[in-house]
């Protein structure tokens, strides 16, 4: 395919993916706004007012970046895993596999759906958060970069899950038993400084630690880990996930017999 034809194929996939989740916005975009409002109200407002400061800022301010990031992670992951597994389940993935569309374009097309949904949800949740706390963004460049990289990373993870999933149960197991615990243990609600040394060290293997802290730095200017190291880790996880997803598509794992 010529570069122009590849561009058309990518545009087609992006359009399809974005239309898919915007058509069912009440299931894809609205729940995050409601859930996060409850988090802000309960953890930030009711409980947070009794906790006081954390990391040098009010508890409400402290949890907002983590909660926004939690919404981005779950939405970008859910978007791609549902879309890719859905295409596998109804065999419409064959439309793509029999076409000359290169695997890289297929990958980028699905990931772009997850990234745009992650970013859209980030905007929605930030608007909701602004009802509870005054947000003075410390660095827009860091915020935008972290959101883009994080949503790309978890979109790729969603695609990998979609490739291996055989049933609808399989696409719920990872979010329930892996993603949610990693998110909660990734420093959304607490500073890593509060953890005993052993658990603080174990937390270094959790990619959520880096995305939450890098984003918190972008919003508040405070972080438990250095920004450069956080970006390095997010970049490494993203490159690793991209390589593995591309390998799965190239070999046709669980897609071709």
């Amino acid at each position: 395919m010529s570069p122009y034809e590849q561009y058309i194929a990518l545009l087609t996939l992006m359009r399809k993916e974005i239309r898919r989740y915007t058509r069912i916005w009440s299931q894809t975009l609205l729940p995050s706004a409601i859930t996060m409002s409850l988090y802000f109200l309960i953890f930030g407002g009711l409980i947070g007012s009794r906790i006081g400061e954390m990391g040098g800022v009010s508890y409400m301010e402290f949890v907002v970046p983590g909660l926004i990031m939690m919404a981005i992670v779950t939405n970008s992951y859910a978007n791609v895993v549902a879309s890719f597994f859905g295409a596998k389940f109804n065999n419409s993935i064959e439309e793509l596999l029999v076409s000359p569309t290169p695997n890289q374009i297929i990958l980028l097309g699905f990931v772009s759906g997850g990234v745009t949904r992650g970013m859209l949800v980030a905007v929605i949740v930030t608007l909701v958060a602004s009802l509870f706390v005054d947000l003075n963004i410390h660095s827009y460049a860091v915020v935008i970069t972290v959101v883009a990289l994080t949503s790309a990373l978890f979109s790729l993870c969603g695609l990998i899950n979609g490739v291996f999933a055989n049933t609808f149960d399989d696409i719920n197991i990872v979010p329930a038993f892996v993603l949610t615990p990693l998110t909660y243990l990734g420093g959304v609600f607490y500073s890593l400084e509060l953890l005993p040394e052993f658990w603080a060290t174990v937390s270094q293997a959790n990619p959520l630690v880096y995305v939450v802290n890098a984003f918190r730095f972008g919003v508040l200017g405070v972080s438990d880990v250095s920004l450069g190291f956080a970006f390095g880790m997010i970049g490494a996880f993203t490159v690793g996930a991209y390589w593995y997803a591309a390998y799965l598509l190239r070999t046709g794992t669980r897609l071709r017999t």
Binding site: M1, E5, I8, A9, L13, E95, P100, T101, T257
Partner: protein, 305 residues
Amino acid sequence: MSQALKIKGLQKIYANGFRALKGIDLEVREGDFFALLGPNGAGKSTTIGVICSLVNKTAGTVLVKGVDIDEDFPGAKRHLGVVPQEFNFNVFETVEDILIHQAGYYGIPMKTALERIDSCLLKLGLSEQRNTRARMLSGGMKRRLMIARALIHEPSVLILDEPTAGVDIEMRRSMYEFLREINEAGTTIILTTHYLEEAESLCRNIAIINNGEIVTNTSMKNLLRELHRETFILDTREPLPERIQVPGFEVSRVDDFCLEAQIEQGQDLAELMSRLHGSGVSIISMRNRENRLEQIFVSLLEQAS
């Protein structure tokens, strides 16, 4: 004439050790209307799967319009349109969206795609369903949608895997007509079907596959020539006698107004008529008892096994 498809030594061994294809060779000429027949599990769909990249081959070469799928699969795929056996579109999308997406995957811009969709839907009688979600279509409409989708990038080779399964007779006939038209316009068609009369009436060349091996690969004319015996059903004007004998012919009484005659290759049908007339039996109608291709198909499979 150059070849639309050339397969050499194609093998497929699945992970569980099952040998679905045991080194098949196949050639389909450009512009041909080709039938690939075989019983369930013979290897037809596996062969098609390899050609269109849904199945990874174990060994062998496949060339589509001279393009080796190992060297330039995207280039080979451009020439191919595939209508699979099972419905494989997103039923929640509209007919137009399904076609726009498929065109996009071949790098066709929206404007061109919309023009082609107009013409495709018109030819296949789906214009009124353009904005209907696929799940609302009847079985026949879904089949036609899959044909429209396979043709949206104007392929030179169209592969249809049992396209008329579950389609009523009227719809099937209109699909035959459409397929004949596009074949006459130059598209090579490769068809697998369980309806042998469909293959006999549409296809010029044929291959029969069984247990992953090609049993025969010849022209339809040559294959039918191998038929040594045909059975005719003859309806009579008057009631037949209890016992009927025609010297030189094997005939038997079916009921009071019907008899069955076996005609060997080289025997004269007019001679049978004349002898029956001489015995006072006048024939008012005559038909083949069974599909001719079916007889050969069954006999070849029996020989192979």
